[in-house]
Amino acid sequence: MSLLHVDGVNAHYGDLQALHGIQLRVEEGETLGIIGANGAGKSTLLNVIAGLETCTAGRILLDGIELQELPAHQRVGLGVALVPEGRHVFPSLSVRENLQVGAHLRRPGPWTVQKVFELLPLLVKRADYPAGLLSGGEQQALAIGRGLMSNPALLLLDEVSLGLAPIVVREFYGALAAIVAEGITVVVVEQDIGQVMRVADTVTCFLEGRVVLSGRPADLRREQITKAYFGM
């Protein structure tokens, strides 16, 4: 059984349909990369899985448990963690407190504040700073660490490279290998196709709310991806 099964999911923003019958599966321990242009529905899908948006049709199953009727805070208890687009750290809390809030439900697992600091050492010297004073890269590291603190089974990363220097992005994706090594299943949404192709076991391309291409990176040709990405 797949850890994540998205089964015929639709989503709407008012009258605008953002997702059309999305079907995808992610096996436990795998990394799924989702690429696509702006407005393709990538972030919408992650928000729907996490419970920030509702799906108007279909099912979302995590290890066989249906999530679509559950509120977001209960999905965290089942092992879903979303690192949202734009980081959204809690600015008035310190770095350490942000991480502690990530562990609000105290799900058992290996991730602790100390372990996050070992994975993301740029946070250590800022541990007691208000998170609102951090740089963009530091805030992104904090958002990822906060997501890990819930000891998720499924980690959803939404455009973690957005607005960051390439060297910082490389560091994050280096850390991703350590995260995956802990057995966490990852879904990463990116506009940086190169990074996704390097880290993902499976890549799926979205266009206008639909899956238009899916496959192993080694099996996908550049022309296929370009056509799918731009809808040519």
């Binding site: 996490a50 419970g51 920030l52 509120p71 977001a72 805070h73 209960q74 965290v76 208890g77 963690a81 979303l82 949202p84 959204h88 809690f90 600015p91 008035s92 809390l93 407190e97 502690q100 809030v101 990530g102 609000h104 439900l105 906060r146 819930s150």
Partner: protein, 289 residues
């Protein structure tokens, strides 16, 4: 010496205003809810004390041990079953609901207790004073009010900064949507914050009932002073609430010292001055919820 005594009384009065304002600040900080019924809820607490004392002939300060949990439960239920439904991106529905609540509470109290002024008798504590030497005196009751206000604020600050639920309050205050991604149940946080706010306002209401007479319609006047203290101190700042209360209390007492009719006016003038020169408040966002 009269002036020093006046300032001392003003500081004590500031503690009283801080008790009123704390709940308001907490609810606004967590939910961004402007509660127009806050003053009426303090009057409700005072009348609950009246009802208890009709049955139990005890000191009102002891009756507070019953009033506080009653108001705590009222706060929880009020938030869960009424105010939760009005919260959203648009602040107007919640504002209107609390306005309606204010009207309902006033009329309910009028119906049950009539328009007659009431008071709570704490005995000798109200009359006796502590001599500080050099001609300075402070009443035991105002001193008790101030000390209790500080203890409440210390307790609240420790709760917000040192506990898991307190961190959840602060996270929800920063970003309600992302707080849900941490496993925080916003509805539970809102209900708890309203319950704590009304627990504190219960203390303020009982102390108000001891300090002065009260009637069903005085809630809105209390609300104005509470908001002035909150805004002067800095929205969402726990210690700002005390600072704002003290500034307001001192301004009012000094105003009354100059001219007895200037008591409230002096407070309003200082409030406007703070708004003009430091609109974010004197301690904006430090030690904040």
């Amino acid at each position: 010496m009269d002036w020093v005594n006046a300032i001392l009384q003003g500081v004590m009065l500031g503690g009283f205003y801080a008790l009123f304002a704390t709940g308001l600040s907490l609810v606004f900080g967590v939910m961004k809810l402007v509660n127009l019924a806050h003053g009426d809820l303090s009057v409700l607490a005072a009348f609950i004390a009246v009802a208890i004392l009709d049955v139990l002939p005890i000191n009102p300060l002891l009756a507070m041990a019953l009033v506080v949990p009653i108001m705590f439960v009222i706060g929880w239920l009020l938030q869960r079953y009424i105010l939760d439904h009005s919260l959203g991106p648009d602040p107007m529905p919640a504002l209107l609901v609390t306005f309606g609540l204010s009207v309902i509470i006033q009329n309910l109290l009028l119906e049950v207790f009539s328009a007659d002024s009431q008071g709570l008798d704490a005995g000798r504590l109200e009359d006796e004073a502590l001599s500080l030497g050099g001609g300075l005196t402070v009443g035991w009751f105002p001193l008790l009010t101030f000390v209790l206000a500080v203890l409440v604020l210390v307790g609240l600050q420790l709760f917000l900064s040192r506990t898991r639920t307190g961190r959840a309050f602060r996270a929800t205050s920063d970003n309600q949507r992302v707080a849900r991604l941490m496993g925080i149940d916003n509805r539970r946080i809102y209900a708890l914050s309203m319950a704590i706010a009304l627990g504190v306002v219960a203390v303020a209401g009982v102390f108000m009932g001891i300090r002065t007479t009260f009637a069903p319609g005085i809630g809105p006047a209390r609300l104005i002073f509470a908001y002035e203290a909150v805004i002067m101190g800095g929205l969402g700042s726990v210690w700002g609430t005390l600072v704002g209360g003290i500034v307001l209390g001192v301004a009012q007492v000094i105003g009354a010292q100059i001219e007895p009719g200037w008591h409230a006016l002096a407070g309003h003038v200082v409030f406007l001055a703070v708004l003009a020169f430091k609109p974010s408040g004197l301690l904006s966002r430090r030690g904040a919820v």
